[in-house]
Each structure stands twice: as structure tokens, then as C-alpha cells.
Amino acid sequence: MTNATQPVLKPGLRLLAGPAGAVLVMAIIFVVATLAFFAINGREAVSLFQEMVMGAFGDSYSFSETLVKTAPILLTALAVALPARLGLISVGGEGQLYLGALFGTGAVLAAVDQPGWILMPLMLTGAMAGGALWGVIPGLLKTRLGVNETISTLLLNYVGILLVSFVVHGPWKNPNSLGWPATIEFPAGAILPQFFDTRVHMGLVFGIVAAVILHILVTRSRWGLGLQVSRSNPRVGATAGISYERNVLIVMAVGGLLAGLAGIAEASVIQNRLQDGLASGYGMTGFLVAWLAGQHFLRIIPLSVLMGGLLASADSLQLYAQLPKASADILQALLFIIVLAVASLWGRRRNT
């Protein structure tokens, strides 16, 4: 609908006015902010930035390390985005990841002598159960008692992390580890398949498949439509026979299940054992990615790769430029702040 009073944009400008323009503006500001951050700390900004890009996407090894980081980010982002479809703000990816690792490891330890075709499904089932449990508890607290899910998931994160500390320092500690708090190494049958001699593992495949399935379910199925109705008005949903409570439990459990898979993949492939500091913040990164993607499941995939690249490049900068590991957190936060600011201003301008 065009009328005379509306300004008619040239095609090129119209593109700039769309989301692509917003993304371009975000990217430019982020690059400038990153350069400024390096420069403020007295570093060779431009060369460090080049090093960063190379460290993430420069060669096949760097890219494989990027994909290694992508897997848990992708899965924990889905664990945030699915509840968000019902208007729930879950910040519990981190705790769910730890519980997945905890239960999955429990299954491995219980069936350690079994062949891989028994051990592997047991391990994955355990991980999914653990994650789902840590998702469904805040769901139950919300539906039964009305406890705010943002607060309960935040608190449960710390409990989940401490539970893992408890088992690796206590009952599950490997007696032969010379005091190092960790479980025994996972047997070969409990190590997720990896691809092309890299550390890239099945967790990435789980994440991509889950993202696609969730996208189809939410956009095409009756259930997805139900979520939308429930979200905008639980009462209307209820009259149409859609139980808001049941859906809360489902989305929280499924989200937790996915984060749980991320946890066991980290323990099995990356650490080869369960130990402290398993996830070092993947849960929060997943939260940021889910919001960057506007809770859109398919957009989460490329954004997770980008964020994985940021973390991988921070690792390589730590090695080559002795940049503290915390720089990854700072750049992550800068990126998120810029995207939030630009997207919100862009949306506001379009609405007025």
C-alpha cells in the first residue's frame, strides 16, 4: 500500500531499511567496538582482529574448533528459545547442561562394562532425562506455585553446578586420578561419534536436527499453533482445549533435554570424563544467542556458528597474543549489547 504522503525509497535504500540493513549496522559497530577494545588495552588492534577472524574461520582446523564450540551453544540456545515460544524466560541452560552431564555420566558408570550399543543409548537417555528434570522442576514450580521461572532457573543453575562438583569430588571420583577431582575416563563405547578426525561430534548434528524439527513443529503443527495461542492468551487457549500448564511442562522439559545432550557431549567427547568447570558459561552464551536470533530456531544455527567462532578465536588469541580468556566474555557482551540496542531502535523507528 503506497500513497502519496509516504516517502518512496529507492530499491537500494529500501534494502537498508530492512533487517539486512540493521544487521549491517550491527556488524560495523561491533567491528569498531572490538577494534576500540583492543586499542584501549594497548594492542595492535587491526592485526589482532585479523588473528581473531583467522582463529575462527581461517583454516579447516580453526573452523572445526569453531564447530566444536557451536554444538553446546546451539543446544542451549534451543533450550531457551523453545520456552520463549510460550513467553517463558528460562535462563537455566547452564544448570540443565550440568544435569545432563551428571545423569549421562551416571549411566556410563553404571553400565561401564556393557558394549557400546547398550552403553551409548543408555548414556544419551540418561543425559536427556537429567536435563529434562532440571527443566521440568522450574516448570512445575511455575504451574503449581506460580514461582517466576527466570528466578528459579537462575538459582537452579548454581545447584546443578554444585551437584557435579559433589560427585566428582566425592562418590564418583576416580581413585587413580592422583587427587584430581574427576570421574574415570569414558570407555570407547561411551564416546559420541566424531567427524573427519576432528573433535566435531554428533552433538552438532543433534542440535541442527532439533532446530529444524522444532521450527517445523512450531510453524506447521497444531501444537505450535497452540503454543502461539496459549502465549498470547492462556484463557483463550484453555477454552480451545489447550492446556497452558501442560505446554509449560513440555517446553521446559524438551528444552532441558536438549541442553542435557550438550552436557554429555562435552563430558564424553571434549573432556572425556566428568569434571568441574565442564561448560564454562555455554548456558549464558546460549541465552544470548537465542535472543540474538529473536527466538527463531533456524536463525539460531548460523548465529551459534558465529558465536562459536568468537569463542574459538578467543581461545587462539589466548595462545598467540596472551589475551585473557575473559576477553571472549567482554566481546560477547559487546556484541549482544550492540544487537539489542540496534534491533530495539530499529523496531521502534518502524513502529512509529
Partner: protein, 310 residues
């Protein structure tokens, strides 16, 4: 019996000391939320405050300068939240998490050189007239200045909030921005002040932790205290007076954790360490029935934040 009383009082005063940083955050965050803004970034502001306060105390040798610097660091970081939320209209939960990550990143990055430094502390009431008070002297003696300042903040804040015109407008902004606007005031001014005050209190809380309570800086040392405080604001029903018992809940669970270990209770310290998170969560569960019925005093403007997720 006397042994029992002594142990109980020791526990109570230990609880008060470890509750102080959390109490400061609860007070600040309660004020922020009263204006209709929630800030999860207090955890990051607390970390930045702890690091800045410790670093300044270490470099200048003056712990009080450290406390002041920590307050400014808290305010500065909270302004990121203010710009995103008030200036850009970004979602408050998302913005809070961004500030949280930024604060923990900045404090870890710039705090590394100060790990293991020794600093002068703010001192305590030992060797003053207080420690000569019969019976109670031994418990009051270890009380430090940040504890007293935080306790003093309770009546000051509640008088401001409930007995002044500005406090009334502050509260009405949290209920409905339209009311404030119709009275001819800009609601954003109150929200900006509220976010800054939350920043000040969380920065101060960081200093209370790093400069006063532990006299030490360790990466990530707040261990979720800021986030626990956001939960405790609900338990305290956005009332400065209830903030004290709510924060003591955290302090008591932490003090109990240490006490049980010293009594030789044979439970893993890692399981005991879940108490400071489980107990507030349990109270939240128990108090929610009552909260639901009365609305719990949640500012109406805040409810909108949770309903408009994303």
C-alpha cells in the same frame, strides 16, 4: 544452655555479616523494581564493584577509596542497562543478562593482576566501646562498617520511599508510567535514578564482599549473590524492612554451611553449598501462595515486563 545461646548468637551475627552484601543488593534492586525496571545485571555490577574496590584499595592503600570507587563502578555499569532499557527500549531481562556477562568479563579481565594482593580492611568495632558491652560485646565486636552502613540504609530508604513526595512518584512510576506522566513528570527520570541507585548499591555490595568481608579478590567471587538477591526481592515483597530477614536467610544458610562443617557434620561441602540457593528457592515456593493472592506487592509495571517476553 549457655553454650547453646552462644552458638546461636555466633551463628546469627555470622549470618548478618555474610548477608550484608546480599542485603545491599536486595535494597538497591527493590528500589529499581519499585520504579518498574528489573535489572539482572546486578550480579555483574557487584563483580565489577568487588574488583574495582579491591584494586583501588590495593593500589591506594585506602579501603574507603576502594568502597567509593566500587560504588561508581556499579553506577557506571548500570548505565549500560539504563541506556539499553530506557534509551533503546530493549527487553529488560535480555539487557540484564548482557550487563551480567559484561561485568563478569570486565572484572575477570582487569582483575587478574590483583589476585592474591593484600589490602588494609575497614576495621571493625573491636577495641571500641562496643566490645566492652557485657555479653553482647563479643558478638558486636566483629561487626564491620559496611554492615552498619547497610543496616542504616534500611530506614533511610523506607522513609524516602514511603514518606516523601519523590518516593511516592517513584512508586507510582512503577505502578503506571501514565500516572507519573499525567502529573507532569517524566517517568524516565525516576527509572534512571532507580537504575543508578541499584548500581550504587550493587557496587557497594561488591566492595562489602571483597574489601570488607573477605579482603580478597577472586574471579567470579560473588557466586550468584546478585542473582539470589533478585529472587530475594520477591521474598521481601519490595519492602526495605522485609529485605533484612530475606537477606538473613541467605546469610544464615551460608553461615550454617560453615558451622555444620566445623561441627564435623559429615555432609559434602558441595552439597552444603547448595543451601544458599535452595533455601531462598524454598521460601519463594512457600511464600508464593500468599503472594499470588495479594499480588505480593509486585509493581504493576514490572508484571508487564514478564508478560512481554522477547
Amino acid at each position: 544452655m549457655e553454650y547453646f545461646t552462644t552458638e546461636l548468637l555466633t551463628l546469627l551475627f555470622a549470618a548478618l555479616r555474610s548477608a550484608t552484601p546480599v542485603l545491599a543488593v536486595v535494597l538497591g534492586e527493590a528500589m529499581t523494581q519499585r520504579s518498574g525496571v528489573i535489572n539482572l545485571g546486578v550480579e555483574g555490577q557487584m563483580l565489577l564493584g568487588a574488583m574495582t574496590g579491591f584494586a583501588v584499595a590495593s593500589v591506594t592503600g585506602d579501603p574507603w577509596l576502594g568502597v567509593m570507587a566500587a560504588c561508581f563502578a556499579g553506577i557506571a555499569l548500570s548505565m549500560v542497562h539504563a541506556i539499553l532499557v530506557l534509551g533503546c527500549g530493549a527487553n529488560q531481562i535480555a539487557s540484564g543478562v548482557a550487563v551480567l556477562v559484561l561485568g563478569s568479563g570486565l572484572s575477570a579481565y582487569y582483575g587478574t593482576p590483583f589476585v592474591g594482593d593484600k589490602i588494609d580492611t575497614l576495621g571493625n568495632l573491636n577495641h571500641t566501646f562496643v566490645s566492652d558491652i557485657p555479653l553482647l560485646g563479643q558478638f558486636l565486636g566483629p561487626i564491620t562498617p559496611t554492615v552498619l552502613l547497610t543496616l542504616l540504609a534500611i530506614p533511610v530508604i523506607s522513609i524516602f520511599l514511603f514518606r516523601t513526595r519523590t518516593g511516592l512518584r517513584w512508586r507510582s512510576t512503577g505502578e503506571s508510567q501514565d500516572i507519573t506522566r499525567n502529573l507532569g513528570h517524566n517517568p524516565m527520570h525516576y527509572q534512571l535514578a532507580a537504575i543508578a541507585f541499584g548500581g550504587l548499591m550493587s557496587g557497594f555490595a561488591g566492595a562489602a564482599l571483597a574489601v570488607d568481608y573477605t579482603a580478597n579478590w577472586v574471579e567470579g567471587m560473588t557466586a550468584g549473590r546478585g542473582l539470589v538477591a533478585v529472587g530475594l526481592v520477591i521474598v521481601a515483597r519490595w519492602n526495605p524492612w522485609y529485605a533484612l530477614p530475606a537477606a538473613l536467610l541467605f546469610g544464615a544458610s551460608e553461615a550454617l554451611n560453615l558451622k555444620l562443617q566445623s561441627w564435623g557434620v559429615n555432609i559434602s561441602p558441595y552439597l552444603l553449598a547448595t543451601l544458599p540457593y535452595m533455601i531462598p528457592l524454598s521460601v519463594l515456593m512457600l511464600s508464593y501462595r500468599g503472594l499470588k493472592a495479594s499480588g505480593g506487592g509486585m509493581p504493576a509495571g514490572l508484571r508487564v515486563v514478564f508478560q512481554n517476553a522477547r
